[in-house]
């Protein structure tokens, strides 16, 4: 019988880590497939996404925030916003969810070998970037200089705090965290991420910039990157749309004739500029 792309595989929630509390909490779920055979051949590349479903509630399209170099499990970071994400936030370790994927295109990890990488993330936008950062750090010698610029509203809103602490200890990675509003006990940059980018002033020579976050942040980050001399095929971002099938059939996530779930979510700024259509 034909293989059914709509049917998810069952996975257990190994561990739930609360990244950010407050009004819009973010939790990271570590998921392990029940069937060992699926764990082995669920191969994905950073930037790809998975459709996580809670049976009886619905499905959501999340970027896989763990790196393929970490075997045996996948992680997704979920911000509590709608019906399904609220239900996901009420899960405990040991519960069962459905996972299907991997879907969408991916960051061009092989093409970017030897290049300097600049990650510019904001809020929950850090999830797809984290997958790429872990991958690049695990294969550190394949890549050039690495700059990670990440900002959140307040220090409590910063996700993946321990990992950032780890990365700050490393010599070969420069981390530039920022928060929007001044807080005592915060010695790093205060202000919006695009301004932090101008302060860091990475050089565009032989480098790639990847940015994910709220649309308003992406807009100003791209403007500043162009001010710093980055050309349009050096800038990459991921886009978000309402999604239901995840495989380019249900028709709703299109920008022009491209489907964000199948032909995206990773787009270069060059591609974005010449496909018209609402985004």
């Amino acid at each position: 019988m034909m293989e059914n792309p709509y049917e998810p595989w069952l996975a257990t929630v190994e561990d739930i880590r609360e990244e950010v509390g407050g009004q819009r909490p973010i939790k990271t779920f570590k998921l392990k497939f029940k069937d060992k055979k699926i764990t082995d051949n669920f191969s994905y590349i950073p930037g790809q996404c998975a459709m996580v479903s809670l049976l009886g509630m619905g499905e959501c399209f999340f970027a896989i925030s763990s790196s393929p170099t970490k075997k045996g499990f996948i992680e997704v970071s979920v911000m509590k916003l709608g019906k399904v994400t609220t239900a996901l936030h009420e899960l405990e370790p040991g519960d069962t969810v459905g996972v299907r994927g991997p879907y969408g295109n991916n960051f061009d990890v092989s093409g970017w070998k030897g290049k300097n990488l600049i990650f510019i993330g904001g809020g929950i936008g850090q999830a797809p970037l984290r997958s790429l950062i872990q991958y690049v750090v695990d294969k550190r010698k394949d890549y050039g200089k690495i700059d990670i610029i990440y900002g959140a509203r307040t220090s409590k809103d910063i996700s993946y705090k321990e990992e950032f602490a780890e990365l700050e200890k490393r010599k070969d990675v420069n981390v530039h965290l920022s928060i929007d509003v001044k807080e005592d006990g915060w010695d790093k940059f205060v202000g919006f991420v695009p301004d932090n980018l101008l302060k860091v002033k990475p050089s565009p020579k032989n480098s790639i910039a990847i940015t994910c976050g709220p649309p308003i942040m992406i807009k100003f980050v791209i403007q500043n990157l162009e001010k710093l001399g980055f050309s349009e095929d050096q800038i990459f971002t991921t886009l978000e749309m309402r999604m239901k099938c995840g495989i380019g059939k249900c028709g709703r996530c299109n920008i022009g004739n491209l489907y964000v779930c199948k032909d995206g979510p990773v787009f270069s700024y060059k591609e974005l500029k010449n496909i018209y259509g609402e985004r």
Binding site: M2, R242, G248, N257
Partner: protein, 340 residues
Amino acid sequence: MDILIISKNDLPKFIDELIKKNTVFAPIENDDTILFGQIKKANEAKLDYLNSQYPPKALILNQTETLFKFRPGPKGDIEPIKIDEKKVIFGIRPCDAKSLAILDCAFSGDFKDPYFLTKRDNTVLIGLSCNKPGVNCFCTSFDDSPASSKYVDILLTDIGNSYYVEVTSDKGKNITKGASKFFKPAKESDAKAKTDIEKKAIEMIKRTQKTENIAEKLDKIFENKFWKEVSDSCVGCGTCTYLCPTCHCFDIQDESTLTKGARIRVWDTCMNPEYTLHASGYNPRPARKNRVRNRIYHKYNYYPKNFDVIACVGCGRCIDLCPVNIDIIDVVTSAGEVKP
């Protein structure tokens, strides 16, 4: 391709023979609405009809379809269902049959949709030519004819006291072989009668839509104020998408009681703002202008770019039933003439 003849009074017997061995769907009348329903006896089928409001696509891409069953909740599990529906659709119009071929592109590709494709293979299409096309039919604008046998397994054409039968596929062959006692080989005069009827039907189609290199023209006028003028009068009712044989957008929903449930697929319409509403409240297509434009671009620009076929068969349903007379023939033709 073998050519046969079946007399008019043998046809009901042939249909009854079909019903014995297959589940047969045919146009049935329910008050003044025509739709495709299962028939138990030949006389339930209504063959002198213009076309059904509710497209026969609904028999392949069902409006409500169970994807799989499950036990709901965080301790649930999944129970797949078997897809093995076999059916015969009798009396489908050539344009609706072509729409199924157009939908094949959307549902195959790198992710194959098992529900649509399995049902598509298990369905035999027995077409019925249009002797009297409707007011808003314009299948001839896509170099198709009201009596084309390209997309059906068997095509029947009413040539007076008998039906001219063209069997185009082997699915059709083993249907006619199974009921060969009703069919006789066709004579030269029958073939001539069929081409005359086809020519007469083509002349009756007065409305044509100009679509040569429409995709490139549409590329240049996406931001043109033409689309605001077209969509001003739209009330966003979505009838055009629910009746269109080539619309394939759907929504996936979970329905469950406390103990059992299922994930189902239902038709959806891009005319509804909730269709693209983000959980954050942002909506990339907030206004009717975006939505009306998206429907036209999806059929005349995006589909040609992805599958190089225009996703319209000229059945005229969206023109007949649009409450504010937004006429796709008029819209696309004048879109072609808009100066960028």
